[in-house]
């Protein structure tokens, strides 16, 4: 069956609104647990105020944070999915939904030209919103996820070398968390996303997706990577810094690592922090036009992490 483009636009608009207003339950639970363990008095007060803020946002249907960040999309297309306009039409309605939600929620128009600082007032522009595409075998649905992530502090990239090992990764993570954690520039406690390997751009992309597209509590299927995730989370929380950079214990609510095979001589690493307004929402548009909403993007499927040459395919003829 062919999906009507109106269904895609309506779903994209709805997730733009939900992402801006309703904090995902996994993040809310993670912060509630951190608050119960938080050792710093002021840091604990901040987590308490944030919980009240999320309640106010949902009750009033107003954005949890006025900094819209850079609203953007991740689209996963089932290999059997068909959309009436084709996928150029999908890109068109994702832009339309962004502009419509910016006016209605309202979202702050954040997107400006990098040099001329000019804007269209609707969070749409050159290369904005970004749309990342991926595919899924044996499915006839389209998943659309929107992420509204702040864009100024908490991200870094570095080319490490194999000899630098896990020590190098730990130093890199400590450097970033301390630099951006002071005074709470990173708006921690954050979901820490680490990209390891790939080429430089995939390294950045993997880390960003690890931070934004996996939920609090999710572990990597590779037990070695899962163990490193927990180790880096514990390292971040051992800094002695909490929310807003006050003395405390709540820096990293969870750590997610994604890897890509990389140059034999290198070990590039990136870090990204998804903040106290970790905004994401997902819609699945089924072939019959039914739409389901959820807060777990389910982006990193076995297919996305595939390592082999061959993969089972099935296409309609």
């Amino acid at each position: 069956m062919t999906i009507a483009i109106e269904r895609i636009e309506a779903a994209a608009y709805e997730i733009m609104c939900r992402a801006a207003i309703d904090i995902p339950p996994d993040y809310r639970r993670g912060i509630a647990e951190m608050r119960a363990r938080e050792t710093g008095k002021l840091a604990r007060f901040v987590l308490h105020a944030m919980a009240e803020n999320w309640e106010a946002a949902s009750a009033d249907r107003r954005p949890m944070c006025a900094d819209t960040g850079l609203p953007r999309y991740y689209v996963k297309v089932g290999n059997e999915a068909r959309v009436e306009t084709g996928f150029v039409g999908v890109e068109r309605v994702l832009r339309q939904a962004t502009a419509r939600a910016t006016r209605d929620v309202p979202l702050r128009p954040n997107r400006v030209h990098p040099l001329w600082r000019t804007e269209h007032g609707n969070n749409v522009g050159i290369n904005a919103p970004e749309i990342d595409w991926s595919f899924e075998p044996g499915a006839d649905w389209v998943d659309i996820t929107t992420v509204h992530k702040g864009g100024l502090f908490g991200t870094d990239y570095r080319m490490l070398f194999p000899g630098d090992g896990v020590d190098g990764i730990k130093r890199f993570v400590l450097d970033g968390l301390i630099a951006f954690g002071k005074r709470g520039l990173a708006c921690q406690p954050a979901i820490l996303g680490i990209g390891l390997g790939g080429s430089k751009d995939t390294c950045m992309q993997l880390g960003k997706q690890a931070a934004c597209l996996r939920i609090v509590g999710d572990r990597h299927p590779d037990p070695g990577i899962a163990a490193l995730e927990l180790e880096l989370q514990a390292l971040g929380n051992a800094i002695g810094m909490g929310a807003m950079g006050f003395v405390g214990s709540s820096m990293v609510v969870d750590c997610h690592i994604e890897v890509g095979h990389t140059h034999t001589g290198g070990m590039p690493v990136s870090m990204h922090t998804f903040c106290l307004a970790s905004r994401r929402a997902t819609a699945r548009i089924h072939a019959d036009g039914a739409v389901e909403y959820r807060s777990d993007p389910q982006w990193f499927t076995p297919y996305l992490r595939r390592e082999t040459t061959e993969w089972e395919t099935r296409t309609r003829t």
Binding site: A49, R62, M64, D167, R183, L185, G240
Partner: protein, 226 residues
């Protein structure tokens, strides 16, 4: 707002506030404001202090509180503005304008994210009798949005856009904010930063440095990057 965990001191301040009330604010206290607050950040500072344009409104008589923020706002068909959420932006970027701005406008309360660079308190804020209130967690946009009773005026909206325009808000129980610096220049972030710094060397102990260094960086983690 309640505070079940702790007995942090809570202050409800009516604006304009007198010298005595501002002088009594202690670092680490929680503050709620009622009165008139305006927004100005790099767009307004550049226009007035960089390009020499006159202020479109007499801020000195109107408001003593400068919020480093941009609202999520949209114009309504009736010409009024719907303000959804309000969140601060990082203040350290505006350091080079603050001394002249405080003198020009008589602003006594600066509200924002993350405070000013530490040396600014002694050099700029204390001589101008100004205190700094930080927003909480930097994401309490919905709570702050609730505190805005109405948009009194907005200036340079077409020219600077929603994020950079000069907004003047009537606010009620607007907060929470935490007193970051008092009139004597004591800084909460500085006190906490020092306490955290004392443990930093131990975190790096035993971790060998990467083979390739980076130019232009400080390698002293006790310093701030701003």
């Amino acid at each position: 707002m309640g505070n079940p965990d702790e007995d942090l001191k809570i202050v409800r301040l009516a604006l304009p506030a007198g010298d005595e009330d501002i002088g009594r604010l202690e670092t680490g206290s929680v503050v709620y404001l009622t009165g008139t607050v305006y927004t100005a950040r790099e767009g307004v500072y550049q226009k007035v202090l960089g390009e020499g344009h006159a202020l479109p409104v007499d801020l000195r008589s109107l408001s003593q509180a400068n919020f480093h923020c941009s609202p999520a706002a949209a114009a309504q068909p009736d010409g009024r503005y719907k303000v959804g959420a309000v969140t601060a932006t990082a203040s350290f970027r505006f350091s080079r304008w603050m001394d002249r701005w405080l003198k020009l406008t008589g602003t006594r309360i600066v509200i924002g994210k993350g405070g000013m660079p530490h040396e600014d308190y002694g050099k700029v804020m204390v001589p101008n009798g100004a205190v700094y209130l930080t927003t909480v967690g930097y994401g309490t946009g919905a709570l702050l949005g609730r505190g805005i009773r109405r948009v009194r005026e907005v200036h340079w909206l077409d020219e600077l856009g929603i994020a950079q325009a000069l907004w003047i808000f009537e606010v009620e129980d607007f907060g929470p904010f935490i007193v970051e610096s008092d009139v004597r220049g004591n800084s909460l972030f500085h006190q906490h930063g020092e306490a955290i710094n004392a443990r930093i060397d131990a975190l790096y102990a035993g971790l060998k440095p990467p083979a390739l260094h980076r130019y232009g960086e400080t390698d002293d983690r006790k310093r701030e990057v701003m």
